[in-house]
Amino acid sequence: MNQLTAQAPGGVPHLRYWQGVWRWLLLAFALVLSLGITQVAHAQADPDREMSTAAPGIDADQWRQVRSGETGPNYRDSRYESNYNLINSSGETWRQWRNRWVSPFGLIVIGGMIGIITLFYLIIGRKHLEEPRSGRKLFRWPLFMRALHWSVASLFIVLALTGLNLLFGKFVFRGLFGDAFWGWMVSSSKVLHNYLGPIFGVLLIVLLVSLIKDNMPKKHDLEWFKKGGGLVGKGHVDAGFANGGEKAWYWLLATVGLLVVASGFVLDFPNFGQGRDTMQWANIVHAVGALGLTAVSIGHIYIGTLGTEGSLEGMTTGYVDETWAKEHHNLWYEEVKDQAVSEQELADRKASKDAGESPAPRSS
């Protein structure tokens, strides 16, 4: 329309037509004005027509693609080395999973475990040895295994506490201690967690490899579970070096534990180009696995310390009492009973070993 009016004067070459020109111009002007007005009215009445003159726009399919997180070959982001899509739809899903399910249910599972164990302790109480101690000892855990166990265990506890602080700490400690202390607390949690995690991972694998032979499932383990490890019915249940419960804990660590380690590594090293979606998954797997293990570990810790008389000394001194072995690991006891040594003998052995290890005089 504008091009038309612009051409109008050029279309009238002779001076004597000036009057006519003016008339033409006025007419053209009026025409343009009215057209302009009708066009606005027209456009409002007919969006499709306006649409055809506007930039073609992105259609519904393309928006669906954007929302799905796909980027496509002609997608461009002006940010340096960005691999982000336009809308990170899964972010909200992850948030809901984490905040609405993982976090509260983690608390319920761990709190529930503590509650059940406390009740169990109060009502049923410690499992004492039924027979008096024989005073004769059986060697159960070599120094290497004890060191390995306690390293893995302490790392586990530190990782569990720092991990829990990352998930729940803000609800408790920020208000309690104020920003300055909380800031220190949470940043040291993160640093400890992120640096000790990989060490835990490596040691856990060593532990699992060292123990696999003792933890192969056997037929009598099924019986052990049916009788609830001896809780149901009378009499002892068969158990080798490791009983059914210990094997279950072993295999939980060998599956879920390794999953926690693997997902932890994904979260720990964000510099391998893994995207946000991968991280979201890794976080959910990591948190669910870690919270589950933490809950079960409370049971393991209870059974190993308060829950059963005579268990802890195996992992601290390396030796267990014959009676304990008979009552808890009868099949193993049958295998090794002829190796039992008296406490006196043990003390002598230890003394001579210490003497042997005292630094020899050197000359140089």
């Binding site: 649409m51 726009g57 992105i58 002609n74 960005s82």
Partner: protein, 204 residues
């Protein structure tokens, strides 16, 4: 009380990256960090369309909800800010953010992230002094009664910043002039002028 919002009119954005540059300049952000980015869909095709994106200062902000240190807060103007003293660089805000706004400076040993940085709506952040504020978060133009520099510098006024009501009014006017109701966001059912703020609960 104002509810500050950004809005990018994709039908006007010409992908000049002026907003990106203005932001870099106003806030003196660290090397490697670009608080605002321009995304182009169907680049080089007839229906190419660009949009400038940064933190949208969400009403129900996912970053705030997932942060383990709880370091985010919302100003009275609805601007989402965070405290770099508390941030531990865990990256959770980035996993949750719909717009890829949080960024992390230099990767330390083992790829550890530094403290998160994102658009502050040119409203600075928590600090003892003005100098410290500028150092950590960049400009506080809001305190000076000014709007974010990106929007002020936008050559086509595609990028709008201000109170949601004003931004919505301007946009609505444009849409009326354009004559079709989803003037900037053709065929996108989620984009109406009344729905500028990203509301995570509605998953728009």
């Amino acid at each position: 009380m104002a509810q500050m919002k950004f809005m990018c009119d994709a039908e006007r954005c010409i992908e000049c990256n002026g907003c990106v540059t203005a932001c870099k300049n106003a806030n003196d952000v660290e090397w490697g960090i670009q608080r605002r980015r321009v995304v182009t869909l169907n680049d080089g095709e007839a229906d190419e369309m660009s949009i400038s994106v940064a933190c949208m200062h969400c009403d129900d902000a996912p970053c705030m909800a997932v942060c383990p240190t709880d370091c985010f807060y919302k100003t009275d103007d609805g601007i989402v800010l965070h405290d770099k003293d508390l941030c531990i660089g865990c990256g959770y805000c980035l996993y949750a953010c719909p717009f890829g706004a949080p960024q992390f400076p230099q990767q330390d040993a083992f790829g550890e992230r530094g403290k998160m940085d994102k658009c502050t709506f040119c409203a600075g952040g928590p600090a003892e002094s003005k100098e410290e504020e500028y150092e950590k978060y960049g400009a506080n133009r809001i305190a000076e009664g000014k709007l974010p520099l990106c929007a002020e510098m936008c050559s086509t006024k595609a990028l709008l910043a201000g109170d949601a009501q004003d931004v919505a009014d301007i946009f609505r006017q444009r849409v009326v002039h354009r004559g079709h109701e989803d003037g900037a966001w053709s065929n996108n059912p989620q984009a109406s002028a009344d729905n500028l703020a990203y509301d995570a609960a509605r998953k728009g």
